[in-house]
């Protein structure tokens, strides 16, 4: 509909500021270094000056260190050190100067890979490498060729109250004003001078145009217009004078006016009727009266984070095709900004302010504002969902059959994931900006306070922040922090949420450390101290943040290289105590529930780690109960997965599978690669427990594959651990392969890899688990090995490893691993025919302090209450007794001493009783039953009869309910013979 005849955007003709330009010419030629700040109000032409300097440096001076473009600090993504470093590099990418950034390119690639894999340690290292290499690159380039860097809109680095600066400034200020040669030029409003306090840097104030400059500018525009359109234009002298006064010499306003004049020479024909203010208003009204352009501009002014055709289409309710055309028209206007790597349209700050002043502050705007907010909300919600879908598709494709023949190389997967993830992060950060400011309608039941956009925005912020921290995604955390900091500073004193946000920003500091794998728990006392210093923080708010910080303290104590489980336990108990009291302010309920859900989950994890699976299950279930109230899918997925793992350990396989499967699907829906990998490894572990080794191997492979693609070491470690365990069990199972050794060899490779990775990661409990599996592998090699020298060798290694696990578990307070390791030494003795060794281990086992409550006496546990706390130990004792029984049977076979047969019957009766008390059907028990009846089946009738008698004796002496499990087993297999 609307065809712009001429675009001022193309007008790079710069007028005025000649003395500054000459000064810059000198700076770039004298071999010295010159940092400078061009200070000027909105609309004074700062950007144009920088562009002109860039042009002079490039075309006129042919300066070696010239950048490709300005760096506009309007974008918050340039406010993080990393974002800014990437922007600086982009200035020299694909130029002769790229050579100075080779180390940067390497670090960037490694950082991207580490990010994709959520590898916190690598992220931290590579991020530092990236920042250092950027700095060094600029320094070297400056020394050898000179450098020119142009930073625009630098006042954006000074956050609203002027008391805080963008995080990137802390990094940049350390070196940017101290280079050998060239110029670093900052342009911004005078408020930006706060950045440069204490710096030796020239400040050049830029005033508005003088009447002569206005005149020269108008003449230049006319000349350019004439050249471009073939039509001449002139301005009457008094017009120019009036214009100068009306625009107050602001080049930006002058340019907008001119643009209107060129579109419609009759526009503002009689300038005498205007004052500056009415003139501004008329300019806006004129623009808004234009078909297409008017509505597009009105929409663009509401989308300060940029507008693309999809968003415009949503706001205006037009088709995408129409929106593309409309946006193109707007894009040609002089007051529009675009950026190199961003297809979206932004307006000049002046135009945003004018629209605020004359359009959005009217009472007549309320409904339209709300509708636009709704459209923006839906746009971001859908766009993020779409990115989730794209990532889900990629991750799911890694589990498809024929993946190996996939057209994409692993590197291509990394790039693709990185690309989608980056845009998803950008969308989320922008979503927060709008969500905090705009009220939107949501379906469903609502409470009065849920209409408050800040409440809704902070919930969303918490979700994104927590999700990023627990997925080792530091990249989104900094822009999120910047958004919230800016919002916080813009709030009036006395606002209910202002102190709350300050508290949340403290938690954010902790999240950053969580995401980058640093020790965060030692920071908790400091953060709690800072919390006390937040003015106007309500008691409710303080209680919530205190509990949240304490929850993280407890979590840190569990995951630390030297875990402190008891202290962690006390910490969690305190958290629950502190949250007992009902809240005064209903607006905080969501946040209280979020803390409770997290605290229950982390406490449950601690219980799981220590083998207290019943407690863990209860904890996860409580966590899920609170999660229902907060609707936090990321946490729900983890809760379900971990609940499933604990249920697996307890033999509650059906529920376990359902929970883990739901968790897996939730994780696919939210599409975070590392979490999906962990879900697959959890399923692998589950299937090992149920004895479905093929399924276990399949899921272990998925975990490894996804982890490798996204570079997730923890996922690879767990994947390999369970692959090893699945392969080992498969090799030795009834339906197992004939080439057992090959499978054991595969298991060996996998477990070596897992141990190596876990050692690198330093996750104590997992290292113990992996070492135990490693030891079990050697135990099973002893079992199948026929060469005695090898057998001896494997035995020694296994023994050493089991003892190591025993020691480490004892130190760490992980009882069930200690018991498991010791029990396995009994079996090692059995497989190696080393009965003395087995006996020695059995004696040690029997003396274990931790097991005292668990021994059955007269058909009951020694301490029923205690024994019920950790039922996995029943299974371990069962396994121990069966092991002893098998040894006794073997001894009887060798020496035919009746007491051995008697002992064998007693031990096995007890073993199966203990095991079944734990769970009637699980992999360990099934394997145990098979081992037992196969061995018993070799006895002749007479021997069997005696064996059965000894079973009955044991049932009587130990007061085991009849028939015992062993009696039933033998009856089922027609092995029961009674006199």
């Amino acid at each position: 509909m609307y065809q712009p005849p001429f675009s001022l955007k193309k007008l790079e003709e710069f007028v005025g500021r000649e003395s500054i330009l000459n000064q810059v010419r000198g700076w770039l030629s004298d071999g010295q270094f010159h940092p400078a700040f061009f200070s000027g109000e909105y609309g004074v032409g700062k950007t144009r000056l920088l562009q002109r300097i860039l042009e002079v440096a490039r075309k006129e001076l042919k300066y070696d260190g010239v950048p490709a473009h300005l760096i506009d600090l309007y974008h918050f993504r340039h406010h993080s050190p990393e974002g800014l470093a990437r922007a600086i590099f982009a200035c020299f990418e694909n130029s002769d100067n790229e050579q100075y950034f080779n180390a940067f390119i390497t670090a960037r690639r490694k950082l991207d890979a580490a990010r994709a894999g959520g590898d916190s340690k690598a992220i931290r290292e590579q991020l530092q490498a990236l920042l250092d290499s950027c700095k060094e690159g600029v320094k070297k380039m400056s020394a050898e060729r000179g450098v020119l860097l142009l930073f625009d809109t630098v006042e954006q680095f000074v956050y609203p109250t002027g008391a805080r600066f963008a995080p990137a400034w802390d990094w940049l200020k350390g070196w940017i004003t101290d280079l050998p040669r060239g110029a670093v030029l900052f342009a911004g409003r005078p408020a930006a001078s706060a950045l440069f306090q204490g710096f030796s840097l020239s400040t050049l104030p830029l005033g508005f145009f003088t009447p002569e400059e206005s005149n020269a500018y108008l003449t230049a525009v006319a000349k350019r217009w004439s050249e471009e359109t073939g039509q001449s234009v002139s301005f009457a002298a008094d017009d120019i004078q009036k214009l100068h006064i009306l625009s107050q010499g602001r080049p930006t306003l002058l340019a907008i006016f001119l643009e209107l004049r060129m579109r419609d020479p009759q526009a503002f024909k009689d300038l005498s009727e205007f004052q500056t203010e009415t003139f501004e208003q008329k300019v806006i009204e004129y623009l808004l009266s234009q078909p297409e352009l008017g509505e597009t501009l009105k929409a663009a002014g509401r989308t300060r984070k940029g507008m693309d055709p999809e968003l415009l289409a949503k706001i205006r309710g037009i088709s995408l095709r129409e929106a593309k055309g409309a946006l193109e028209t707007l894009g040609n206007m002089s007051f529009v900004k675009t950026f190199l790597d961003d297809e979206r349209i932004y307006l000049h700050d002046d135009m945003y302010d004018l629209l605020d002043k004359y359009v959005y502050s009217n009472e007549s705007d309320v409904v339209e504002k709300q509708a636009a907010a709704q459209a923006i909300y839906e746009y971001y919600r859908d766009a993020i969902k779409q990115k989730d879908g794209e990532l889900k598709e990629i991750f799911a494709s890694l589990t498809w059959e024929g993946f190996e023949q996939s057209a994409l190389s692993p590197e291509a997967y990394v790039d693709k994931i990185r690309e989608v993830e980056t845009s998803r992060q950008r969308l989320k950060t922008e979503f927060i900006y709008y969500r905090l400011r705009n009220q939107v309608e949501k379906e469903g039941k609502r409470k009065w306070y849920e209409d408050d956009p800040i409440h809704a925005g902070l919930k969303m912020y918490y979700r994104y922040g927590h999700e990023a921290a627990t997925s080792n995604n530091d990249e989104i955390l900094i822009p999120l922090q910047i958004e919230l900091t800016n919002f916080w500073l813009s709030l009036e004193e006395g606002n209910f949420w202002k102190p709350f946000i300050e508290g949340l920003l403290l938690v954010h500091e902790l999240w950053l450390k969580v995401a980058t794998g640093q020790n965060y728990w030692d920071d908790v006392p400091r953060l709690e101290n800072n919390l006390e210093n937040i003015a106007s923080l309500s008691n409710d708010q303080r209680v919530i943040f205190h509990a949240l910080l304490e929850t993280w303290l407890g979590t840190g104590l569990v995951f630390a290289a030297k875990p402190e489980y008891d202290r962690a336990e006390k910490t969690f108990i305190n958290v629950f105590d502190n949250l007992q009291k009902p809240l005064v302010d209903q607006r905080l309920i969501w946040f209280k529930n979020v803390v409770l859900s997290l605290a229950y989950r982390q406490q449950a994890y601690l219980h799981h780690t220590r083998g207290r699976f019943e407690d863990a299950i209860r904890g996860y279930q409580e966590g899920l109960r609170y999660n229902r109230m907060i609707n936090f899918r990321h946490e729900e997925a983890t809760l379900r997965n971990d609940l499933g793992l604990s249920q697996t350990q307890m033999g509650k396989f059906r529920s376990a599978f359902e929970n883990m499967w739901d968790g897996l699907h939730l994780r696919y829906d939210i599409a975070v690669g590392p979490r999906i990998a962990l879900s697959h490894s959890s399923l692998a572990e589950h299937f090992i427990f149920t004895g479905a080794y093929e399924d276990a191997r399949k899921h272990a492979h998925y975990a490894i594959r996804i982890s490798e693609i996204v570079g997730f070491r923890r996922g690879r470690a767990f994947g390999n651990l369970f692959l090893a365990e699945a392969a080992r069990h498969f090799a030795l199972s009834t339906v197992g392969p004939t080439n057992r050794l090959e499978h054991l060899e595969q298991a060996k490779k996998a477990i070596e890899s897992a141990v190596h990775l876990f050692n690198e990661l330093g996750e104590h409990a997992a290292i113990i688990q992996a070492k135990l599996e490693h030891a079990c592998l050697y135990r099973d090699l002893v079992r199948v090995e026929t060469d005695s020298s090898y057998k001896k060798n494997w035995f020694e290694i296994a023994d050493k490893m089991f003892r190591q696990v025993q020691n480490e578990s004892e130190k760490a307070g992980i009882e069930y691993r200690l018991v498991d390791a010791l029990c396995n030494r009994v079996w090692l003795g059995y497989y190696a025919d080393h009965f003395d060794y087995a006996e020695e281990a059995a004696q040690e086992f029997g003396a274990l302090e931790v097991l005292k409550p668990y021994w059955l006496k007269n058909g009951k546990f020694a301490d029923e209450t205690q024994a019920k706390r950790n039922p996995i130990l029943w299974a371990q004792i069962g396994k121990f007794f069966v092991g002893r029984g098998m040894i006794a049977l073997k001894q009887w076979e060798k020496k035919k001493q009746e007491e051995s047969l008697q002992a064998s019957a007693r031990f096995i009766t007890l073993g199966l009783t203990y095991s079944t008390a734990f769970e009637e059907d699980h992999r360990g028990l099934r394997e145990g039953r098979r081992t037992v009846y196969q061995a018993i089946a070799t006895l002749d009738s007479d021997e069997l009869t005696r064996f059965c008698k000894y079973i009955l004796d044991t049932e009587n002496s130990e007061m085991i309910s009849k028939p015992s499990v062993l009696q039933s087993l033998m009856r089922d297999h027609a092995l029961w013979l009674e006199n």
Binding site: M1, E285, S289, E295, I318, S319, E363, V366
Partner: protein
């Protein structure tokens, strides 16, 4: 066949004395210049320009030449050589050479016949400069804003620019809507004079005159009603008076002329009908409005209502029937008044008002902070018949 209001008859002309005097004074004070008469739809620009041409034609020292870019007829100028008028079609850029030849002959400029328009233009310009006659050329072009850009550019380049090269020349143009982009400073800095609606007494006088000339079938008793219904708009008055339908239907016809004739050419007839009906509805909205305020009022629950409203707004803006001013959009007052009258008389207002009231109440309820604003949405002091 042309509608009566497109046929010029000087005998029917009334008023505009002050404008004629102003043109006369301008002519006397200045040796050359450009005047553009701008006015709302139906304000009488064409009639005025034709009458001005007629009067200028009577002055011996002047050489007026009229170009009518849209179909009109003026039987009394049938034998004039100094006019380009076509009752059947719009002026096209291919008509330029023909006009140039006519103009050259009329202005007694020696021209060399050529098919090359650029040469023709140069010869024309040179001829004008060396022209022996002392008479002053005056070119009048009607509806120059409304013609397609390519036609206007052609006229400017081959006719206006060569004319402006001479020392003594006047150009008088008329137009409505968006001022075009001129290349010549004289055109850019033209005198813009507004042609305001006629006072009601003059409208009545014109009707009486037409009646006396036997051109109106309407009874004199209807004239007051016509004057009232026209709200001072001569075009509405004329169409209404000419219409053989009852007054109410005549007013509807006049509103149609006001709206449909100015809609962009790419609008289908069907859509023109829809625009007409939406303009009727919008004419009842008493506050400056945004799209979102009226989308439900215009399109009910149509899921496409926002897009459709957006399109209607674009078309109305492109046709200069609506502008954004102050707190929102406004329909031109020259449309609002007659439409409200028509709706009131026709009885359709009730239905629209009911719909508008429902929207207003919903907005008041949903947005209590601006309840007062939406309370004013319905027309003030508007009572239906």
């Amino acid at each position: 066949m042309l509608q009566p209001y497109k046929i010029f008859n000087s005998a029917e002309f009334i008023d505009r004395d002050s404008e004629f005097e102003r043109v006369g004074a301008f002519q006397k004070e200045k040796s050359r210049g450009v005047i553009i008469f701008e006015g709302e739809r139906g304000s009488g620009k064409t009639t005025f320009l034709f009458e001005l041409y007629r009067r200028l034609h009577e002055q011996h020292e002047l050489r007026p030449f009229l170009i009518s870019l849209f179909p009109h007829s003026a039987p009394e100028f049938a034998s004039n050589k100094n006019i380009w008028l076509n009752s059947e079609r719009q002026f096209q850029k291919s008509d330029v050479p023909d006009v140039l030849n006519h103009l050259a002959h009329y202005l007694e400029v020696e021209v060399i016949e050529t098919d090359d328009r650029d040469f023709q233009k140069d010869y024309f310009a040179r001829g004008l400069a060396y022209r022996a006659s002392k008479t002053i050329p005056i070119l009048l072009v009607d509806a120059i804003y409304e013609c397609p850009d390519e036609t206007r550019l052609e006229i400017e380049k081959y006719i206006l620019v060569p004319l402006l090269a001479s020392e003594r020349v006047f150009i008088i143009l008329s137009g409505r809507g968006k001022y075009p982009i001129w290349s010549r400073p004289e055109l850019q800095n033209a005198e813009i004079w507004k042609l305001e609606p006629l006072e009601r007494a003059f409208i009545r006088e014109q009707l009486v005159k037409l009646k006396e000339l036997g051109k109106l079938q309407r009874d004199l008793s209807e004239f007051d009603a016509i004057v009232e219904l026209s709200s001072g708009n001569p075009l509405i008055a004329r169409v209404l008076a000419d219409s053989k339908k009852p007054l109410l239907d005549g007013l509807s016809e006049a509103i149609d002329v006001m709206i449909k004739d100015v809609l962009p050419s790419w609008i289908s007839d069907e859509e023109k009908l829809e625009i007409r009906s939406q303009v009727e509805k919008l004419a009842l909205v008493d506050i400056p409005f945004r799209n979102i305020d009226v989308e439900e009022y215009l399109y009910g629950n149509d899921p496409e209502r926002r897009r459709k409203t957006d399109r209607v707004f674009n078309i109305l803006k492109a046709s200069h029937l609506m502008v954004y001013e102050g707190k929102g959009h406004h329909l031109n007052q020259s449309l609002v008044d007659p439409i409200r009258k028509w709706l009131k008389l026709q009885g359709r207002a009730d239905k629209y008002l009911e719909q508008l009231r429902a929207v207003s109440l919903r907005l008041q309820k949903e947005y209590p902070t601006v309840k007062g604003w939406y309370e004013r949405m319905l027309p003030h002091n508007f009572t239906t018949a």
